[in-house]
Amino acid sequence: MASYNTSQFRKGLKVQLDGDPYLMIECNFVKPGKGQALYKCKLRNLLRDTVLDRTYKSGDSLDAADIEEIQAQFLYRQGEQFFFMENETFEQYELGMDQVDEAWMYLKEGMTVSMLLFNNKPIGVTPPNHVVLKVEYCEPAVRGNTATNVTKPAKVDTGAEITVPNFVETGDMIKVDTRTGEYIERVK
């Protein structure tokens, strides 16, 4: 298995610890006086989203995680199961709700997402930063109130609820930022 020596440690490295894949989200180089170099790292578990603090000394190494990012199309949802197909190989993948996580709110049939594979098994999906969703139902706009700081919930076509400004109507198409879950604008 490939491994990384401390001299290769940097932010963004994907490593494996106790069988789980981790992303190095911070790596601080510390060297006291004439002493040994220390690498103070923060590692995010890509399966559980927990963060570990670990310190390594020069000469230590970590196993590389076999992580691959692929582009896949969302096919359909069946209850708590989500089905995807890799764009190039047509390989199909089935993911559960815990793997899809909050991305379920933005998944529309035919949408291309990026999918992370760990040892060739899917561990998560990331939708495009911006998606357009259809408002299936929201309370009618209060007439005369055009202030944009008045908000209300809107049910969209994926089944999710998005907070929108007061002027949005049922049937509108809205653009949403999938990283924050925030409404951006109404699209025609």
């Binding site: 180089f29 390594y56 000469g59």
Partner: protein
């Protein structure tokens, strides 16, 4: 600091330091030279590329091919120490140098693999005189007053609550756990200096030089490098470090003069390097010959000029004070 924000690739030709800081850096360099000149010290220049290299357990030199056939290798200096001591053995006066030095793998907000070191030697100075001179230099360039002095032992008693010379290694390990220091799993009970270094870096150093600069002196004999060891119980290395705002700025020695002792330390250090999985470095060098010919009694100090500039201008990373740090060099 306008140009330090993450830049698109097209802006990578630009310096990471502002013109205001680069002018301040030039002014500090001028004042530093004035300081040495006013004290009658000679500025010298020695080779950056040398057949000899300092043998240190935790310093890895850049090894470069000297001829195009690759038949001969040389080292980029990790400090100008060897060459300056050869000048002193050959009858040189008190002297200083502003040198570019190179260290593999040292990269971070406070480290750049290529950096500017100011190194000086003063004939006849002992540990006390060397600490006073270093404090005067820091006071002149940083303007935060003279340095407070505390021994390595006092620093540990104050910030870790134990005697670093006498506490068993198991007690150092327990202190690290108590103070919630995340220790490397590979750091074992056999590596006493490793635990001392970890506690110093994590629990002591952040508190040093918070208002006025601080000088820590009298290190464990096992960390003497090229300093004299003063006999006693325990024996102590006549070595000191200067800190400001929790950042190490300089390291000084009351210099070891005994060639046989240096030869012994080089052999021991090479054994440790090989055990650490690193290449041994050449055991013989021209410094040993210079020491056999006779080095005068003296103290020597090395100061990281980039870090000094960083603190003087109120920056928090070397990239703010170096025009082109390593990833843009």
């Amino acid at each position: 600091m306008e140009p330090t924000a993450p830049d698109p690739a097209s802006a990578e030709f630009r310096p990471t330091a502002t013109w205001r800081v680069l002018r301040q850096r030039a002014e500090l360099l001028r004042r530093l030279r004035d300081f040495f000149h006013a004290r009658g010290m000679l500025e010298v220049e020695t080779p950056i590329l040398s057949a000899d290299t300092v043998v240190d357990r935790h310093l890895d030199p850049f090894c470069v091919a000297v001829d195009s056939a690759g038949a001969r290798a040389g080292f980029l200096q990790t400090s100008p120490e060897f060459a300056m001591k050869r000048l002193l053995a050959a009858g040189g006066p008190s002297m200083y140098q502003v040198a570019r030095v190179f260290r593999q793998d040292e990269l971070g907000p406070l480290h750049n693999p290529e950096f500017t070191m100011v190194e000086w030697y003063r004939l006849g100075d002992g540990l006390l005189e060397a600490m006073q001179f270093t404090s005067d230099l820091a006071e002149t360039l940083l303007g935060r007053g003279p340095a407070e002095r505390l021994s390595y032992a006092e620093a540990f008693v104050r910030h870790v609550g134990l005697d670093p010379h006498r506490a068993p290694t198991a007690e150092l390990m327990a202190a690290a756990r108590r103070l919630r220091v995340v220790a490397p799993e590979s750091l074992g009970v056999e590596d006493r200096d490793g635990w001392l270094d970890l506690l110093l870096a994590e629990c002591v150093q952040p508190h040093l030089g918070c208002s006025a600069p601080a000088i820590v002196y009298d290190y464990p004999a096992s960390q003497s490098a090229l300093a004299r060891v003063r006999p006693g119980v325990p024996p102590l290395a006549e070595r000191f470090e200067l800190y400001a705002s929790g950042i190490e700025l300089a390291n000084g020695y009351h210099e070891l003069l005994d060639a046989q002792e240096l030869r012994r330390r080089i052999a021991e250090t090479n054994t440790q390097r090989v055990a650490d999985g690193k290449p041994a470095l050449p055991p013989e060098n021209r410094l040993l010959a210079a020491m056999q010919a006779g080095l005068p009694p003296m103290s020597g100090v090395a100061l990281g000029f980039d870090r000094l500039v960083m603190l003087a201008v109120g920056a928090s990373s070397l990239a703010e004070v170096i025009a082109f740090p390593f990833d843009r060099a």
